[in-house]
């Protein structure tokens, strides 16, 4: 948890804890208003270097707004933000050279081929990756000579990612990178993200796919109505790790279930009641989805 433990004094505007100078991203009390509505309403968060952090939340929760403040696209109305040690409001070319940005909307239509687009993009950066290698990495080598408009939705999105990483970013923003992917494309994309992690890239990912967050992220933050309601490793989100396990089995032709805090002991005891295998034995924890739906449904 990175939320500040101490409750701020009423009316306090100063962040309760200082910005973390070592973090890739450090946010204190971020506020962004649209009209009289706070789209982002006091977010505190630190994302460490090398980490993959997933920001999870329903549509309109403030994910994209938060990310676009970090990327320097939107001006904030309150709070302090540092991205790679720099306030995004003053981020210059050098700062942008360290970032890779995959926008939710993706890149526009172009008459250039995939390889030409990547070469042009690479020309803006000090130490770009080899465009052909990047195409290989995202699995678009066969499409090197194709124009963007001829690509499928999933291929286009991979091209967006290729454009985001060709500059060899140390910090990569991915805003809903797999929306519209089929399951196969999503799995390919996940392995791409893992290979980027192995190259040491810090990533901030927004998604509304829980399996994606669980699969990729070191930590997950759940944002709803502009507030970060929890930050945790995926397995511990919402007290999931401590939640009672549900053991189920079939006995005398009837499906039985039991909730227990000690499933191992329970199953060992259960095993003594059957001569061999316990019929249809299953042990389940609340899924991330169960936990998540409870969190975002909470009107508090």
């Amino acid at each position: 948890m990175t939320r500040t433990p101490a409750a701020p004094a009423p009316g306090a505007v100063q962040p309760a804890s200082p910005l973390d100078p070592e973090a890739a991203i450090s946010i204190r009390g971020l506020v962004k208003r649209y009209g009289d509505r706070n789209a982002v309403d006091g977010v505190d968060l630190d994302i460490q270097r090398g980490e993959i952090f997933a920001l999870l939340g329903p549509n309109g929760a403030g994910k994209t707004t938060t990310v676009e403040v970090l990327e320097g696209y939107r001006a904030r109305d309150g709070g302090e933000v540092r991205v790679l040690g720099v306030d995004p409001a003053d981020g210059g070319r050098r700062w942008k050279a360290e970032l890779g940005i995959v926008l939710q909307s993706g890149a526009g239509d172009s008459q250039l081929t995939c390889l030409e687009l990547l070469r042009a993009q690479a020309a803006y950066y000090p130490e770009p990756r080899d465009p052909a290698e990047v195409l290989e990495l995202v699995g678009l080598t066969e499409k090197a000579g194709s124009r963007g408009r001829t690509l499928s939705g999933g291929q286009r999105r991979r091209l967006d990612v290729a454009l985001g990483i060709v500059g060899r970013p140390r910090l990569l923003f991915l805003d809903e990178p797999t929306t519209g992917f089929d399951p196969e494309a999503r799995r390919q994309f996940w392995s791409l993200i893992r290979s980027l992690r192995d190259l040491g890239t810090t990533m901030l990912l927004t998604t509304h796919y829980l399996d994606e967050a669980e699969e990729l992220a070191d930590r997950v933050g759940v944002i709803t109505r502009g507030r970060l309601v929890e930050v945790a490793v995926p397995s511990a989100l919402g007290g999931r790790g401590q939640a009672p396990a549900v053991v189920s089995w079939t006995e005398d032709g009837v499906r039985r279930t039991a909730e227990t805090a000690a499933p191992t002991a329970f199953v060992a005891e259960l095993a003594t009641r059957f001569p061999g295998e316990v019929p249809d034995l299953a042990v389940a924890r609340p899924t991330l989805e169960d936990v998540y739906l409870r969190m975002i449904g909470d009107p508090a």
Partner: protein, 271 residues
């Protein structure tokens, strides 16, 4: 303390070259823009040259007159219409937002656009001149007339490019930019003496036309293509080259101010 490494960024010159290459490919590979911007004036010249085959007096054919107008209209298409529609499209489809997130120097984007306008303009002018000479026996300018040709075209093109960039910010997307700018350009062409003699335009419309750059571009180019005897048919009885330079120069300044004040790298955030 920042974590930004001191890596040397690519030079602005090299990024400008990259952008120029991108802009030229984007233009010449898109059938719509090539047909609309390049072929439209050519078709106009071919059709008008064939249909309106009469003499204006002093042994000057209408085509000789139309040459100045169609070149001015071609320059307007390559700059004002091309920029307004092209940039509005790039803004609404996220291309500009994507570029703004890279370390590309913002000036390089505009240099790329200027190179595109320049190349397309030169292509249009050359094609129109060749067709004029080969099919309609148009007399080419000579001597210092080329100099006048060059500065009128350059100043007119600069004013129209800046205006086009400014106008792009008014449109919601490329299609709405096209729907706004195309009729305006067409009306301007009719009242600025492109399709027929400016002296035939009603006086009040002449006054309207005189506010905008196209009329002055066409008038400046007429001074190049027509004998000085025909200057008497101009509203002022002369080519008014000083005023041509003044009005186009003012439009450059106005266009630049509008660009600087209105240019946006992303769609409005109005949520």
């Amino acid at each position: 303390m920042t974590m930004i490494e001191e890596r040397s960024l690519p030079s602005i010159g090299s990024v400008c070259r990259t952008r120029a290459g991108v802009e030229l490919k984007e233009f010449f590979r898109q059938r719509e823009s090539v047909v609309f911007t390049l072929m439209f004036p050519v078709i106009l010249l071919l059709v008008f040259g064939a249909v309106l085959d009469y003499e204006l007096g002093s042994g000057v054919s209408f085509t000789q007159y139309f040459m100045a107008g169609v070149i001015a209209a071609g320059i307007l298409g390559a700059s004002l219409q091309n920029m307004a529609i092209g940039i509005a499209t790039e803004r609404s489809d996220g291309t500009l937002k994507g570029l703004a997130g890279t370390p590309m120097p913002k000036s390089a984007y505009f240099v790329g656009k200027v190179v595109q306008v320049l190349v397309v303009t030169v292509a249009i002018v050359v094609i129109l001149l060749v067709i004029g000479v080969v099919f309609y026996g148009v007399d080419l300018p000579s001597g210092t007339e080329w100099l006048t040709f060059a500065w009128v075209a350059a100043l007119g093109s600069a004013a129209s490019t800046l205006l086009g960039i400014a106008v792009s910010s008014l449109a919601r997307n490329g299609r709405s930019a096209s729907a706004t700018v195309t009729p305006v350009a067409l009306v301007l062409q009719f009242i600025s003496g492109v399709f027929f003699q400016f002296s035939e335009v009603p006086t009040w419309l002449q006054t309207v036309a005189a506010v905008f750059p196209l009329k002055w571009m066409a008038q400046g180019l007429r001074s190049v293509f027509l004998p000085d005897a025909l200057a008497a048919q101009e509203p002022a009885g002369s080519w008014e080259l000083g005023r041509v330079a003044l009005v186009l120069g003012i439009w450059c300044v106005v266009g630049l101010v509008l660009c600087v004040r209105t240019f946006r790298w992303q769609d409005r955030v109005d949520r």
